[in-house]
Symmetry: C2
Subunit: 369 residues, 2 copies
């Protein structure tokens, strides 16, 4: 057991290897969006995805203080009350885990085994980060800003408080929030109470929960989560590239009704309006295409109105299910920067930022009499 | 695929068979209690376990009506407003899924693969069911009362709305509620909005969500969920016994901090106060024992105050972790009826009502300098 705790490299499953109890244990803790919840513009509390590296810590809101230190003109120590008295902003933001889709990859990197449900959209209320950093006064030598949470654990042999760094340019973007409310209520414990960072457009790892410290650095941040965990690489021994902004993705709300065990959908022949959501942290979504033949042919879906730059966008597509039989429904998003979801898996060693198109198996049946 | 949908018997995994994608897909949807949330008397919204057989339906609360029909003197059709104007009661109830522990069984019945996290405690507010049934007037010929939800799906070849029956005696017990609030807010969609049954003491399958109809029957209810799904049996071809009330169980809040991938706990040598919860639907909890040597020896834990008959009870135990090395922590509950948690698995063909003792692997280490 101790040997396993000291393994420094994540494992890749054998090609025919099923899911392990370790992976199942993570899946049982880290909850995903039930896909029928794609019907909601804003994900109701309890259905937003949740990824917790270690344990959900208990943080006393009354005693909570956020420290801002390092390469600043003046250090700050801010109470929750002080934070709440600052400028108040609410932003609708779609967050997605960087590991979403990992369990669909072949071979499968062994970690939290998301299929495609690690996403959610919330109304986050808080205060913009940039004015607070301006108040502290970043020194001209400032390079990165590190955000440290109260959550503590061991990961590949490294004991740590969860921490992530952003460049000064990224950290001072106007959309970053120190959030203390989610969907109009105080942050639930599992989403980072009392205060978390929300970095719109970035995969969820950047939005540090249970925030306790902001440290301005004169060197690039070299913490585990930036330099080891959230990296795109093909082999274990290369440094790789950082995981950053959310790649375009569309998901469809599975039509009809499910079989309990397989989650295969049953739909009657006839017309169905397929609906779903699409998002990209890289640029606004410009289009969604749907395939009802497993990706052989594609047709344009209709986009709903934008709900702001950082929230997913609804889409719909009329499907005539003419003949009984099996079908596979797919959808894919494109953004204004020309990024398109791939139909071939974007495999990488740690299973990061996979936006492989979703495949929804359905059985079309003759109308029941 | 169609053949798989028509399988009428649930499968049992081969002894060495790992978790399938079908099981993982269910685990990704059906969220469990993160064990550190055992610290809360009342589970915060979003951390209570959730088991949804089919899809979470969208039910319009404004148009919602509860029908009461069958062997009654007068049929009723009740709006949400009318329901809310009736006697209002709040009860703290621990609910547990009947499938909790299934994925620990060897061989493993293939279904929703819970480890031990399918539990939660909420404050349910609603109106007692018994007076409403009295108002409808049960005929002397009444035998069972069936509760039908709006959730629709296919299960082992049977298309159905989720429905469960209770005997008249069980259905008219004073503790049963038609609940419309959870922890002081309207029921979230995933917990049965706008109204669900809450049957304290029973495994969760009895507490029908998205309730739409109550039917009083003059014959025993023969629906799938009573006669096929929730049965205790050793072989696939026997009828088995019904799953009813929650067997005693204790869980401990894992101490120390976790390794990300294995969830193994790291604790320093020295004194630790182990805490947890215990419950039984069969009788009040009378004791909890703790083992720090994997079940070889047991010692009594201290019980906290009762929080009412239907809620879990806290307990604590002082553990002196004297020597560095691996250890396995266990706990087991006993109730006033003399039911004790087993240390050998209570295996059955469908993996129901397993209350096998929890095992929490820890690594004790010398204090860090």
């Amino acid at each position: 057991m101790t040997e396993q705790l000291l393994e420094t490299v994540a494992r890749v499953a054998e090609p025919d290897e099923a899911v392990s109890i370790d992976e199942l244990r993570l899946a049982a803790r880290n909850s995903g969006l039930p896909l029928e919840a794609l019907r909601y513009d804003v994900t109701p509390l309890g259905m937003h995805y949740l990824l917790v590296h270690y344990d959900i810590p208990h943080v006393d809101a009354g005693a909570w203080t956020l420290r801002v230190s390092g390469a600043v003109e003046r250090e700050l120590a801010i109470s929750l009350e002080e934070l709440r008295s600052r400028e108040r902003v609410t932003t609708r933001v779609t967050l997605e885990c960087a590991g979403n889709g990992r369990a669909r990859l072949l071979p499968r990197p062994v970690s939290q085994p998301w299929l495609e449900e690690a996403v959610g959209t919330a109304e986050w209320t808080g205060t913009p980060l940039a004015p607070l950093l301006a108040e502290a006064g970043l020194l001209p030598s400032a390079v990165d800003v590190a955000f440290t949470g109260h959550d503590h654990g061991m990961e590949r042999g490294v004991e740590q408080d969860y921490a992530r760094g952003l460049s000064v340019a990224d950290a001072t973007a106007p959309e970053l929030l120190l959030a203390y409310e989610m969907n109009g209520v105080p942050l639930p414990p599992q989403h980072g109470a009392p205060v978390r960072l929300v970095a719109p457009g970035w995969y969820g790892m950047a939005s540090v929960k249970w925030l306790r410290e902001i440290t301005v650095l004169e060197e690039p941040f070299d913490g585990f989560q930036n330099t080891v965990a959230y990296r795109l690489k093909q082999s274990a021994d290369e440094p790789g590239e950082p995981v950053t902004r959310i790649r375009p993705r569309a998901l469809l709300q599975p039509p009809g009704f499910p079989d309990f065990m397989t989650r295969t959908r049953l739909v009657d022949t006839g017309r169905h309006v397929l609906t779903g959501r699409a998002w990209s942290g890289m640029a606004p979504v410009s289009g969604v295409e749907v395939s009802t033949d497993g990706g052989a042919t594609w047709a344009a879906a209709s986009l709903g109105p934008s709900a702001g730059r950082w929230a997913w966008r609804s889409w719909s597509y009329e499907w005539e299910a003419a003949e009984p039989g099996a079908a596979v429904l797919c959808c894919r998003a494109t953004d204004e920067a020309g990024n398109v979801q791939p139909v071939e898996q974007p495999w990488n060693r740690q299973g990061m930022a996979s936006n492989l198109v979703q495949r929804v198996p359905v059985v079309v049946r003759a109308p029941q009499t």
